[in-house]
């Protein structure tokens, strides 16, 4: 498993190709999160995190996924710092012999990364800056698992 927390951008395609290798792999699932500019007004998105706890929390979530599904490997990349609309924020990839495990584990990882990994987003537009509120739906999504 690999957990990468970095300010630098990443090439999701190259990461996915590198991750997809391996004997017995039958299914690879990936998700890439991108900075969304909902109203066309976003100047920058800043992502703050808690160095140390971030890596630890993500590793714990990945361990849970590896224990729960028959995964051959999992990859999580999450950025922090100042990002622009269209920039990749994060990526999750899973691989397994059969697709059901890879799909379910990737979905689980995304739900937990949203609400249990210590990142906070702040959006700046021409009107000023505001912290993005956590959504009840994101917290509720954890109950699925």
């Amino acid at each position: 498993m690999a957990v990468v927390v970095q300010a630098e951008s990443f090439d999701a395609g190259a990461e996915l190709n590198a991750f997809s290798d391996g004997a017995g792999v039958g299914a690879v699932v990936s998700f890439t999160g991108v900075v969304r500019d909902t109203d066309g007004t976003l100047a920058v998105m800043e992502i703050e995190h808690y160095p140390g706890m971030t890596e630890r929390a993500i590793a714990g979530i990945v361990d849970d996924a590896m224990a729960r599904w028959a995964l051959m490997d999992a990859l999580v990349i999450h950025r922090h710092g100042t990002l622009l609309a269209g920039d990749p924020i994060m990526m999750v990839a899973t691989k397994s012999a059969h697709r059901a495990d890879a799909f379910a584990a990737a979905d689980f990882l995304m739900d937990y990364l949203k609400s249990r990994a210590p990142f906070w987003k702040k959006e700046t537009t021409a009107d000023g800056s505001a912290w993005v509120d956590a959504k009840d739906a994101d917290e509720d999504a954890l109950a699925r698992w």
């Binding site: 999160g33 703050e48 808690y50 140390g52 706890m53 630890r56 929390a57 999450h78 924020i89 994060m90 995304m110 990364l113 949203k114 609400s115 249990r116 990994a117 210590p118 990142f119 906070w120 987003k121 702040k122 912290w131 993005v132 509120d133 956590a134 917290e139």
Partner: protein
């Protein structure tokens, strides 16, 4: 112990972290102690249901004990992904 603040909690309190000498038994005791100290803490901790807390980098609850803790962090609900 080292007390850390993130996101709007950090902005409201005005520092990212500080050393605090305390006899607080639980996280809630520490919150009460800080809130009594200065208005900026009272403002940040006015509604703890809007906050989350980690002790030694593990998410926990406000009734968690602080015995042996080195690092306590306060922050709003996380918005990763």
């Amino acid at each position: 112990m080292n007390v850390m603040y993130f996101a709007w909690v950090r902005e409201r309190i005005g520092v990212p972290s500080e050393e605090v000498t305390t006899g607080a038994v639980t996280v809630a005791d520490l919150v009460a102690e800080l809130s009594a100290r200065e208005e900026r803490y009272a403002a940040a901790f006015a509604d703890v249901t809007a906050l989350r807390v980690a002790v030694d980098q593990e998410l926990t609850t406000f009734d968690a004990p602080l015995a042996g803790a080195h690092e306590v962090a306060f922050f709003p609900p996380m918005t990763g992904g």
